[in-house]
């Protein structure tokens, strides 16, 4: 293996490994724009230039590899390459590249959504010139509407071509192109072929500057106000790793600050979703915006629903469960392992049956291209945790139809249900008002996945943790808390300090989860206290 020296550190570099990656390995970050680990290397932006002893010109770190040199050509008698990432030559080169990029850049940071997480801003502060030597007129091309969800702020583009490569190499849809040449180059779509595919949102994350802007998020928030929470997408059984960016904002007519999820971004996990998520997952929460959340517990009084206190609703629920007849607790493929586990435990304690409802099924879609090493598949099972729910409830399949005909049904989540016939008594632990919740006798308002923590088990059996990012509206509570309270109302002594305690118990009780290393789950991201917003 070639031995190299980067700045003052000596290290071995694998055959084919680039200087960029080797430097990263030892904690040296080289600035870059066009490089992306998931895309073909084009080495065109020239931001990553480094100096290599013996090379006549600075070389791009992102594309340069090192070979074993014959003895005579080794530097200092032993190194196959000696690289500086900080010498005068490198700094001059960086400064020059930034100067070139900024020549034609509008520098409209104050109104740019990328400001605060923009690589052009960051590198300019760190490496750039503070005064421009450019006294000519800038070229300011118009903003373009690329398709249903994305704008191109043409003038901000730095031509890194990441977005073009994404539609060529990852989705294979090839909507994005470069038109014109040289200084006049612009990203564009062909007439009649808008940027419209199920992964297009990723180009916004990919763009190192604020050129590609998501219409859903434009002008809605400033990134330095965001709080980032690690999460898992509930869109399908793939279980893409995500980050929820949340922000407090003042609701109209309300004094209080409400926090909302402003944006969902992919979180790198090479074994699941690599660097991407699909738009179904990305915009999943958008769909909730015009739906009515259940804010308060309700019980049916004389045929119509009335809002009551938690105490009253729990007592009413307990009474109905104890009333006799067949009782079934139905878990949900949309609820976490912990919630399903607790539901099962409670059912057992009160002698009721358990079941799990069926997930919605939809289209499976795979993006396959010649160049993509990791074809991205959106799974047909449109629920995050069917596998986990079955595991922790000890079921091999759903027996939904039969269960719903029981005398009394305690149901976890119901958005996905098409209830033909109402059971005589229906206790719904639910988040949204819908046809089912309207039929219920008792409604216990529950948090959705952004408002609580837990684990999902994806289709491959990977147990992944998601964290609480925002507070629930009104009096809605996390499902596990509702179940603990319900257990108490039923005379059961359930007590858990946090979701983590349930996870721990679950992994001890459920044999297939014995291998799950809870401490590893915890170590990956610190577990968020239910009562404090992450």
């Amino acid at each position: 293996m070639p031995l190299i020296k980067i700045d003052d550190q000596e290290l071995e570099i694998a055959k084919g490994e680039t200087i960029f990656n080797a430097a990263k390995r030892i904690g040296i970050e080289i600035p870059y724009y066009c490089y992306h680990p998931g895309l073909k290397i084009v080495a065109s932006c020239r931001m990553c230039l480094v100096d290599m002893v013996g090379a006549p010109k600075p070389v791009p770190a992102c594309s340069t590899t090192v070979m074993d040199m014959p003895e005579a050509r080794k530097v200092d008698g032993k190194y196959d390459a000696v690289i500086s990432t900080t010498n005068e030559r490198v700094l001059t080169a960086r400064k020059a590249v930034l100067e070139f990029i900024l020549l034609n850049h509008p520098i409209d940071c104050p109104i740019c959504d990328k400001a605060g997480e923009c690589k052009l801003q960051d590198y300019s502060y760190e490496h750039g010139n503070h005064d421009s030597r450019f006294i000519e007129t800038k070229r300011i091309p118009e903003k373009k509407d690329l398709g249903p969800s994305i704008f191109l702020y043409t003038s901000r583009c730095i031509m890194c071509s990441r977005c073009v490569r994404f539609t060529q190499e990852i989705t294979g849809t090839e909507e994005l192109k470069v038109r014109n040449r040289g200084w006049h180059s612009e990203i564009d779509v062909a007439p009649g072929h808008p940027l419209d595919n199920k992964m297009m949102g990723n180009v916004v994350d990919l763009c190192p500057v604020g050129c590609l802007i998501d219409k859903h998020e434009r002008f809605e928030g400033r990134v330095w106000n965001f709080v980032h929470t690690e999460s898992v997408c509930p869109g399908c059984s793939k279980g893409c790793n995500t980050v929820l960016d949340t922000m407090k904002h003042q609701k109209l007519n309300l004094e209080e600050l409400v926090d909302t999820v402003y944006r969902v971004r992919p979180r790198e996990n090479m074994e699941v979703n690599q660097w991407w998520i699909c738009d179904d997952g990305r915009y999943l929460l958008e769909g909730n915006k015009d739906r009515k959340r259940l804010h308060f517990p309700q019980i049916r009084v004389n045929g119509s629903m009335a809002e009551v206190s938690w105490k009253a609703s729990l007592e009413a629920a307990a009474e109905k469960i104890k009333a006799g007849g067949k009782v079934v607790f139905v878990g949900s493929p949309y609820a976490s392992n912990e919630e399903n586990y607790l539901l099962g435990k409670l059912a057992k304690a009160v002698g009721a049956g358990v079941d799990v409802s069926k997930p919605l099924m939809g289209e499976m879609h795979t993006f396959k291209t010649e160049m993509n090493k990791y074809p991205f598949t959106i799974e047909s099972e449109k629920a995050p945790n069917f596998r986990g729910a079955k595991d922790v409830l000890g079921l091999s399949s759903s027996n939904e139809e039969a269960s719903l005909s029981a005398q009394t049904v305690v149901m976890l989540g119901n958005d996905h249900l098409n209830l033909q016939k109402k059971p005589s008594t229906l206790i719904a632990i639910a988040s949204f008002e819908n046809a089912v919740s309207k039929l219920a006798d008792v409604v216990l308002p529950a948090a959705i996945f952004t408002e609580t923590s837990g684990t999902f088990t994806n289709k491959d059996g990977r147990v992944q943790k998601f964290n609480k990012a925002v507070q629930s509206p009104g009096e809605a509570k996390a499902v596990w808390q509702i179940l603990v309270d319900l257990a108490q109302a039923l005379g059961q002594d359930f007590y858990y300090e946090s979701v983590g305690a349930i996870t721990k118990e679950m992994t001890e009780q459920i044999s297939v989860y014995k291998t799950v290393d809870v401490s590893a789950l915890f170590a990956e991201t610190s577990w968020v206290d239910e009562n404090i917003i992450a």
């Binding site: 020239r46 600075p58 070139f100 450019f134 470069v178 040289g182």
Partner: protein
């Protein structure tokens, strides 16, 4: 001197295969087919042929870079994109003597064992493409192309592919991308085309003039070649007799300009001011630097390059600011736009020069240009970035740690630039007829 490369020029029906055959054509091909490919590659090495496309890379060495163990088919690409300003030699070969080109391609293809050869011809050469296509058809009909050429068992197809008017598609990897039907964005090297070229296969890209050389080396021998190496020079500018001239490589630039067989001196009896000897991308020579041999090494020593041998001669009435502005406009216009320094820097320099030329220059612009040229050269994917920087600031200089020497327009004619900035007009009086 006996004409070799341009022997057919001026002969009636020179494009016709029978005329070519009558004057000794297609005699090298059968000899080549009796040699082994390795012998042919060795022959090119021994003769010391250097590429005529611009970089002057040793051709035999390039051919020997082809991997022996790659199972993919090999390709020969004949670079006929000829777009470097001042260059027009390949056009003469293709339009006046297409069979010489075809014979050269057949021999070269055999030497590198390629069964498919593309001629990538610049889009504007409509006539050239037609002439070539007609000649190719004649060659197929007579068995010099196609299956089992002259009973040797060697097959070869040649296809003419027309470009769409982009200089960058003359750069070998830009050409490859374009040939594959993509945008002409040069690739990063390595991998070099010899290893990973067109359609991912081993590929050799050579200039038209380079690819006709084996015809003459086979016909006349390696020693003859070494003693008489013929070269085409494209003489343009303020000359009495501009045109493409064949001469022995290394002919003195002064002879080319003043010689009776060549350009016969500066037009209108004016004085020589400067010469760009190798196509617009190479540093300019002042009149007193023109006593120089027109070959690769001598010109490199003189701080310029033979490049594509596109020799542009400027007389005393030329405004050097305007001349440089014109050149830089070309490179800025032709930048493919991939690399930051070339895309942005080129246009910036064009704007700065435009400002100086139109009387809005500042003294600091001169150093700005020299510095910026240094920030472009050597920091891009393909040599277009260099081509843009060298006319401004000269070739890389070892004594300056690889920075550009500074020896070109801005330094050599600094007085004119300064005059322009101070007086807001040209130092030279531009005669009526150039305006």
């Amino acid at each position: 001197m006996e004409k070799v490369l341009t022997k057919m020029v001026g002969i009636e029906n020179s494009r016709n295969i029978d005329v070519y055959l009558k004057s000794g054509g297609y005699q090298a091909l059968p000899k080549a087919l009796k040699m082994t490919p390795d012998q042919l590659v060795g022959m090119m090495k021994d003769a010391g042929v250097r590429g005529r496309g611009g970089a002057g890379f040793p051709t035999g060495m390039k051919w020997s870079f082809l991997p022996k163990d790659n199972p993919n088919p090999r390709y020969l690409l004949c670079n006929a994109d000829e777009s470097e300003p001042g260059t027009c030699k390949d056009r003469v070969l293709m339009e006046e003597d297409p069979h010489q080109v075809i014979e050269g391609l057949a021999i070269s293809s055999f030497a590198i064992q390629a069964h498919t050869c593309y001629i990538y011809i610049r889009g504007e050469y409509v006539n050239g493409a037609q002439v070539l296509n007609k000649a190719i058809q004649e060659a197929y009909d007579k068995g010099y192309l196609g299956k089992n050429i002259l009973g040797s068992g060697f097959d070869l197809d040649i296809t003419v592919h027309r470009g769409a008017g982009a200089y960058i598609c003359g750069e070998e990897t830009g050409l490859i991308e374009s040939l594959e039907g993509k945008r002409g964005w040069p690739r990063i090297k390595p991998p070099f085309p010899a290893v990973y070229g067109v359609f991912g296969s081993p590929t050799i890209v050579n200039n038209v003039e380079t690819l006709v050389t084996p015809v003459h080396i086979i016909n006349r021998g390696i020693q003859w070649w070494k003693d008489n190496e013929p070269k085409l020079y494209c003489m343009s500018g303020h000359l009495n007799r501009p045109g493409v001239f064949e001469a022995k490589i290394g002919i003195n630039l002064k002879d080319l300009i003043y010689g009776d067989d060549y350009s016969q001196g500066i037009a209108k009896g004016r004085k020589l001011k400067a010469v760009i000897p190798g196509g617009s991308s190479v540093p300019v020579l002042k009149a007193d630097e023109c006593d120089v041999a027109m070959d690769f090494d001598a010109l490199a020593k003189a701080g310029s390059a033979l490049g594509s041998a596109g020799c542009m001669v400027m007389d005393e009435t030329t405004c050097m600011v305007n001349a440089l502005w014109n050149l830089i406009k070309f490179y800025a216009h032709e930048s493919c736009g991939q690399c930051t320094p070339c895309r942005e820097g080129g246009h910036w320099m064009e704007m700065v020069l435009g400002r100086i030329e139109t009387g809005r220059g500042r003294m600091e612009d001169l150093d700005l240009m020299l510095e910026t040229a240094n920030n472009i050269a050597g920091r891009t994917i393909c040599p277009l970035g260099d081509a843009l920087a060298w006319p401004i600031a000269g070739m890389p200089d070892k004594n300056k740690g690889g920075d550009l020497s500074g020896n070109s327009f801005v330094t050599k004619f600094r007085d004119e630039f300064e005059y322009h900035i101070t007086n807001k007009k040209c130092k030279v009086t531009i005669p009526h007829e150039w305006n």
